[in-house]
């Protein structure tokens, strides 16, 4: 009799194990297993054929790859987890027996599990670690806002507070901030470090909102925070050393231990923002400042792709300008504005920041009465006492400047004026063909004049009423292509003419600009295009047709919208003109 093949000993059934089986294999409790999986980055999987993977069982079980579990088996951390379990059992016993000295001893000597090697293992290179900083920063920033909670260890919260501030400091030192976006959820920041864009959210600066435990598993999230804080710490270390800065930075009383002690005593006095406003210690002098660092870009393109190279050069120039955006500005924050994002955004581009000493005693560098202050950021309809030497602007100006990469004119952001919309810098332009109103164009390209109404009205007030209609019709006529200019050669040429032509050829004449027949060129191009279209395969023809029709339709829409806009502008101008006329007539009568 041949050997009977047993079911699920090969193939998908052998490749997956259930969570229970994994627990038995690793000899860990469920809690420890979860922790281990999160820290090691092992996640459950969905098999292609669930029934087969579950060895014929129905229902849905949590499955892991057997390979992954074998990978976990070699982790030295497992032994540490087991030791920890033993230690905690001892502690529990001591508590039950009410042995106070033992309790104290065990509570203070809980074995610490180091996960440095796991960080290294999960992020083999520094760039890998930077790529995963999005989540790390978001979670750490969130944990940093938490007060003392029952379900989260205080040292973790303190560590998160310290690390996030340190990271922000590095961004300030490297001038790495690129984009800011204030949403209703929180404030998004994007920094660029080593060519990696890191985006994270910080919640709005409001008192801590109690989280609902039903929605979020606090224990799981704190495990994530544990891992990410370790990763962030090592990333910080490297970033500081790359910039020749001393690590850990000395930020006054803002150290993890101090914060933890404060949290335990439940009187938090140290100021995050004050810590953010401190200068950093350098390990080496005479080192190039990242703000002034210049890179000699190659003038020739690498792969012959000149356009791309040109684009890259322009982008680099813009970023270089952006790094010194607020250089030399002295900005005072009124007490109602959110200080943390503003201080971060301003200091990232070289501004000097201060705030009210009476409300926030720590960290203020200059008083409100300082005459050298250039801008004061205010978020209320009016102020009683104002200085002439400075602009009073709303906080959106700072963020819009950063996103526009230029110092925007302050007029629109003056105190009490309704603000222009705050656009998201994270939008991806997926539609190239769309109507862009001049207001939006002006946001990206300030050379475009937005509203000519005022100027036009000013002209009108000078009593020189022109017919604007004719003036505006002219450019349209110009746009019309001159199709009818066709060369009129090729009829009959006499000998004289020929001789003349030859004589002309001998002479050196003053050069005339070459006339390019645009209409002919266009027609030729069009014909070439038609020929190309003929070559399209049958199966793609319908697709091409639909694409083309869509394109035409979109162009039509854009034209229509432009036309509407023009009509609207013209009518509004005429109305205003009529009003002015009427007013003048009234004045004349009076």
């Amino acid at each position: 009799m041949p050997m009977q093949k047993k079911k699920f000993q090969s193939g998908e059934g052998a490749r997956y194990v259930t969570r229970r089986a994994a627990l038995n294999k690793l000899q860990l409790s469920l809690k420890d297993f979860r922790t281990l999986c999160i820290i090691k980055g092992i996640y459950p999987r969905e098999p292609a054929h669930r029934r087969r993977a579950q060895k014929g069982k129905s229902g849905i079980q949590i499955l892991y790859l057997k390979k992954d579990i074998l990978f976990l088996l070699h982790e030295p951390m497992i032994w540490k987890l087991r030791d920890l379990q033993v230690h905690l059992n001892r502690l529990r016993r001591a508590k039950g027996m009410n042995q106070k000295d033992l309790i104290k001893r065990y509570a203070n000597t809980v074995p610490r599990i180091t996960i440095d090697h796991i960080v290294k293992e999960r992020y083999p290179t520094f760039i890998d670690a930077l790529r995963d900083m999005d989540d790390a920063l978001t979670i750490c920033c969130l944990f940093a806002t938490f007060p003392k909670l029952k379900s989260i260890p205080t040292h973790l919260i303190a560590l998160c507070r310290r690390l996030t501030i340190e990271f922000m400091h590095v961004c300030i030192a490297a001038r790495a901030l690129r984009k800011v976006f204030i949403s209703i959820k929180g404030i998004y920041f994007q920094v660029e470090i080593k060519g990696q864009a890191i985006t994270w959210v910080i919640p709005h600066n409001y008192p801590h909102e109690p989280q609902k435990k039903q929605e979020v598993d606090f224990y799981t999230m704190s495990t994530f925070a544990d891992f990410y804080s370790t990763a962030l710490g090592f990333v910080n270390f490297r970033l500081y050393h790359n910039l020749n800065l001393y690590y850990p930075p000395r930020l006054g009383s803002y150290t993890a231990e101090a914060i933890e002690d404060e949290m335990l005593e439940e009187n938090e006095t140290s100021d995050r923002v004050a810590a953010l406003n401190l200068p950093l210690l350098k390990t080496a002098e005479d080192v190039e400042d990242p703000a002034e660092a210049e890179l000699n870009l190659d003038t020739f393109a690498a792969d012959g792709n000149e356009e791309k190279a040109e684009e890259a050069r322009k982008e680099y120039e813009k970023v270089r300008k952006l790094k010194n955006l607020f250089e030399g500005l002295k900005i005072f924050l009124n007490r109602e504005v959110p200080r943390e994002p503003l201080v971060f955004a301003l200091r990232c581009f070289g501004a000097k920041v201060s705030w009210d000493v009476t409300t926030f005693p720590e960290g203020a560098t200059f008083p409100e009465t300082d005459e050298t202050i250039t801008h004061q950021i205010v978020d209320r309809p009016d102020l009683e006492k104002k200085f002439i030497s400075r602009y009073y602007i709303q906080p959106q100006w700072v963020f819009d400047c950063v996103n526009a990469r230029e110092l925007l004119p302050v007029e629109k952001y003056f105190i009490g004026t309704p603000l222009p919309p705050h656009l998201s810098p994270f939008t991806v332009e997926y539609r190239t063909q769309r109507y862009v109103p001049p207001e939006e164009k002006a946001l990206t390209d300030p050379s475009v004049i937005v509203n000519r109404d005022q100027e036009l009205l000013d002209e009108i007030s000078d009593n020189e009423i022109e017919d604007i209609k004719d003036g505006e019709n002219e450019p349209e006529d110009e746009n019309m292509e001159t199709d009818d200019d066709i060369d009129e050669f090729g009829d009959e040429i006499t000998e004289e003419q020929l001789a003349e032509i030859k004589r002309k050829k001998m002479k050196v004449e003053t050069g005339t600009p070459e006339i390019v027949n645009k209409g002919k060129l266009r027609r030729e191009n069009h014909q070439m295009q038609l020929l190309k279209e003929k070559m399209i395969q049958k199966k793609y023809r319908s697709l091409y047709k639909s694409m083309k029709s869509g394109k035409i339709q979109r162009q039509k829409e854009i034209k229509l919208l432009k036309y509407k806009r023009r009509i609207h502008e013209r009518t509004s101008i005429e109305k205003k003109r009529a009003e002015i006329k009427a007013r003048r007539a009234q004045a004349a009568v009076a």
């Binding site: 996640y43 969130l142 799981t220 690590y247 959110p338």
Partner: protein
């Protein structure tokens, strides 16, 4: 050696009893003494006793003698006797180690309580133990403050523990044939050439955290805000539609009646046909008004089929049968002709099945990237955050934060297949506290009245 004349020599016992061994003893004693003390000085030569120091202050560091191949194994050294004299009898002495100084070892004289008190020795030891642990703790704390956890660069110049050893082993492994490695891998797992690599896991690429919708701005443009609201509304209408569908398919398939009506129906059903109930009378009334008529009443002689009709029917039946037979014959012939097309049809079938297979594969690949089902519960996206136009204030001071970033973080992890979706804990599992009344406590009727019991 002297031996007694009349003594048995056969057994060992005889020898032991009757042989005088004093001379042997004295000989051995002398030998031992000589070994212990050495040969008397008078017998030694001058060269043995003295030597001229030529090296000066430097001491010659003697190199350890080279091991010869004949030397006995080191592991057997404990079995060898160090004495030059052969022992008289084999003895295995069991040494009873009594470590008297054990308690003293633990006792650290340097650690003393600050206050001087008179205590018993036993208590002093206990106290010393506690104090020792305290000192250790303090030292630990000091170290932790001095040494930051993040004190090394992980990505350059940092060597993991055991990395050096691994390198050595790798160098050795290069020289060993694979059979040897495989043979020894069971005993020394480190010898195996295979290295555990972190399993690369493709995660769901979708991440809403990275790119916020422009309509989420605290001061958005009208178009962005409208588009955001439109997308949310679209999602909501779809959800409502789905809910309605589920309702229609499940709940409204069954008739629903209120509890009272249900009871009423049951009583009606049970009392049917019983005299003295209202239903009975109603039925009677119905019977009176309408005449009873069966669905298939029995035939009578009046509506019998005529012979002519029967003949026609028979003829029609025959014709039908013939037609069917002809059709079958025709089909047989046509099938013969069709034979050459069968191959073509088979090809087409195969083609279509492969196409379907490809499509299915593509679909699976797409679903690999998206959110998958890891546990019993399916991931459902929660509602997006938004503000109504009336709540948009346009200034930073007045904007109210919406949404919950913490929850978003958690859900994004679930969305990216990192966490399996668990059950939502609608109420926290708090242990109920059972309360008892003390048996001696007496309750008076006034008390009950007071607490409205």
């Amino acid at each position: 050696m002297k031996t007694k004349k009349k003594a048995g020599r056969r057994l060992k016992r005889d020898w032991r009893r009757k042989i005088d061994v004093t001379d042997v003893d004295t000989y051995l004693d002398n030998k031992r003494l000589e070994e212990r003390i050495g040969v008397s000085f008078t017998e030694k030569k001058n060269e043995e006793l003295f030597h001229i120091d030529v090296s000066g202050k430097k001491k010659n560091i003697l190199k350890p003698p080279k091991k010869s191949l004949d030397a006995p194994l080191k592991c057997l050294s404990s079995l060898q006797s160090t004495s030059a004299i052969v022992p008289l009898a084999k003895r295995s002495v069991k040494k009873n180690k009594k470590n008297k100084n054990k308690s003293d070892e633990k006792f650290d004289k340097n650690i003393k309580p600050l206050k001087k008190t008179i205590i018993k020795k036993k208590d002093a030891q206990k106290l010393n133990k506690i104090l020792k642990s305290k000192v250790k703790m303090l030292q630990l704390k000091e170290n932790s403050t001095n040494n930051d956890v993040f004190n090394k660069d992980l990505w350059s110049g940092y060597r993991e523990p055991g990395q050096h050893k691994e390198k050595l082993i790798n160098n050795v492994i290069k020289w060993l044939p694979s059979e040897v490695l495989n043979h020894n891998a069971k005993i020394l797992p480190k010898l195996s050439d295979k290295k555990m690599v972190h399993p690369s896991q493709r995660l769901c690429k979708v991440d809403d955290m990275k790119c916020p919708h422009p309509g989420l701005s605290y001061n958005p443009t009208i178009e962005d805000h409208v588009s955001l609201l439109a997308t949310i509304a679209e999602k909501e209408t779809e959800l409502i539609k789905h809910e309605a569908h589920v309702n229609r398919v499940t709940q409204s398939l069954f008739k629903q009646v209120s509890k009272e009506k249900h009871e009423q129906i049951i009583t009606e059903e049970l009392t049917e046909g019983l005299p003295g109930f209202s239903n009975d009378t109603v039925d009677v009334a119905n019977e009176d008004t309408s005449e009873f008529k069966a669905i298939n009443p029995p035939t009578t002689r009046d509506n019998q089929k005529s012979i002519k009709k029967r003949k026609i029917q028979r003829r029609l039946r025959n014709e039908e049968r013939q037609r069917i037979n002809a059709k079958v014959e025709k089909k047989k012939i046509s099938d013969l002709y069709r034979l050459r097309y069968i191959n073509q049809e088979l090809d087409e079938l195969e083609n279509s099945t492969t196409k379907k297979k490809l499509k299915r594969l593509q679909k699976r690949q797409i679903s690999n990237i998206s959110t998958r089902r890891l546990g019993t519960n399916k991931f459902t996206e929660s509602h997006d955050t938004f503000t109504l136009p009336k709540d948009l204030k346009g200034t930073l001071r007045e904007t109210e934060p919406q949404g919950n970033i913490f929850k978003d973080c958690f859900e994004s992890l679930q969305k990216r297949n990192i966490l399996s979706v668990g059950k939502k804990q609608l109420k926290l599992n708090k242990k109920k506290i059972q309360s008892f009344m003390h048996p001696a406590f007496k309750i008076t009727p006034d008390m009950l009245a007071e607490y409205n019991v």
